[in-house]
């Protein structure tokens, strides 16, 4: 049991990930992330809270593709937090995740420089949502302006909504009630989300799996994203 009210945790089963990118698209739509185009991506100014890292293993014809969906790892010891001069990024005592307060952010980009996972994205320009894309903006998520840092929030707007519903119905949040957009879109259920404080939750059971590991564990960041090692099934 951790010190948080909820300890939101994500499990990514690499044996199930086919690299289809459905999660990437779902994330883009849910969180009002603009599409910046090839030129910007080439300059390293892409906007993606969630991306699929692809690795090739072996030599043709015995070659195999491996995929790792990568998003903000919601580190317990987050390197981004102490370097923010205005406290725009901090650790939530309620949800145990790393929060970015957009209206507080002044765009120093120290946090992104300190992030070992390259999970933080900076708005170099005002985002463009040409017609009819503006019609599908999610009202629960602010459209970030130029000069603001942003990143995966574990779909905190969905956590907020679930908390309010549970409270109105006088119960606690059920396991599986909060599902981030990526997990909802995943056709193979490779992304599971839930509360590590609840010993019976799906994530608590999966976290004990012997395939489990965290990215760059040696840095001591203690991510809240746990990957389950992929075996032989990713053969192409």
């Amino acid at each position: 049991m951790s010190k948080y009210e909820h300890h939101w945790t994500m499990i990514v089963d690499l044996d199930k990930c086919t690299g289809c990118q459905a999660c990437v698209i779902a994330c883009q739509a849910e969180n009002n992330i603009p599409v910046v185009g090839e030129d910007e991506i080439r300059k390293g100014r892409g906007m993606q809270w969630l991306r699929i890292e692809r690795y090739w293993e072996g030599e043709y014809p015995n070659i195999r593709a491996r995929f790792i969906p990568l998003m903000c790892q919601q580190c317990e010891n987050a390197p981004c937090e102490p370097v923010c001069p205005v406290f725009a990024t901090y650790h939530s005592e309620v949800d145990g995740i790393n929060v970015q307060v957009y209206n507080r952010c002044i765009g120093t980009r120290y946090c992104a420089n300190n992030c070992p996972y390259i999970a933080r994205m900076f708005n170099w320009f005002d985002p463009q949502f040409p017609e009819p894309l503006n019609e599908q903006l999610n009202p629960d998520v602010t459209v970030r302006q130029r000069g603001i840092m942003e990143k995966c929030t574990f779909c905190i707007q969905r956590i907020r909504r679930a908390r309010e519903t549970a409270e109105a119905e006088g119960r606690s949040i059920r396991d599986g009630e909060v599902q981030p957009a990526c997990g909802q879109a995943c056709p193979t259920n490779a992304i599971i989300f839930g509360d590590l404080n609840d010993p019976n939750s799906q994530v608590s059971r999966l976290a004990a799996n012997r395939r489990g590991f965290r990215l760059l564990e040696e840095l001591g960041t203690e991510p809240a994203v746990i990957y389950l090692k992929g075996g032989e099934s990713n053969v192409i």
């Binding site: 939530s92 005592e93 309620v94 307060v101 507080r104 998520v141 907020r160 409270e167």
Partner: protein, 186 residues
């Protein structure tokens, strides 16, 4: 020779006729919806009194702002809702009758009503009526004495300090959650 000319003539007149038919068709289709949207977009304002409805007629706030218990937005009533009562109520007062005539006219013509925007939070703020109304925070705490107003006027400045002052007075166990930036900022 003349046979080919006849055929050419036939072809040409056929083509011209088809084009004329298509253009008229398009024009008709174009004109129809354009006029309709024009009517629907004439936004009108109507007279309305909170005092008459909540004190004289003793209607509950939640009858008209019916989502306040269930959703983030309280919502404004549609004209259909006004007509639940006003299709049958008769009033003595001339002025009141005239005001109600305006309502009926707007309803019957399907006009869109544009009520003034009174309380609006900036885009980066998350606010929810459901969380407050279910926890016994009265409408008047935040909106003032609406029951004495005609159209609602802004009497409370709901800045961040206003929200936090009350959140700090809640039971100790709830305070960390209620003052967490992510609770109100999205």
């Amino acid at each position: 020779m003349s046979e080919t000319r006849d055929r050419r003539l036939l072809l040409w007149s056929g083509a011209v006729l088809t084009i004329v038919v298509i253009i008229t068709g398009l024009a008709l289709v174009q004109i129809e919806p354009e006029d309709e949207t024009k009517i629907n977009q004439t936004a009108v304002t109507l007279p309305f009194s909170h005092e008459v409805h909540t004190q004289k007629a003793e209607i509950d706030c939640l009858f008209c702002h019916s989502s306040a218990l269930r959703a983030p937005q309280a919502t404004l009533p549609s004209l259909n809702k006004c007509m639940i009562c006003h299709s049958s109520i008769t009033v003595e007062d001339d002025n009141a009758r005239q005001n109600i005539e305006q309502l009926k006219q707007a309803y019957e013509n399907g006009w869109r009503v544009q009520w003034p925007d009174v309380y609006r939070q900036p885009d980066f703020v998350y606010f929810s009526h459901r969380a407050h109304v279910n926890n016994g925070v009265s409408c008047q705490k935040c909106h003032g004495d609406v029951q004495n107003m005609t159209l609602v006027e802004k009497v409370v400045d709901m800045d961040m300090g206003f929200c936090l002052d009350c959140h700090q007075e809640q039971p100790e166990a709830d305070i960390p959650r209620l003052i967490d930036c992510a609770t109100c900022h999205k």
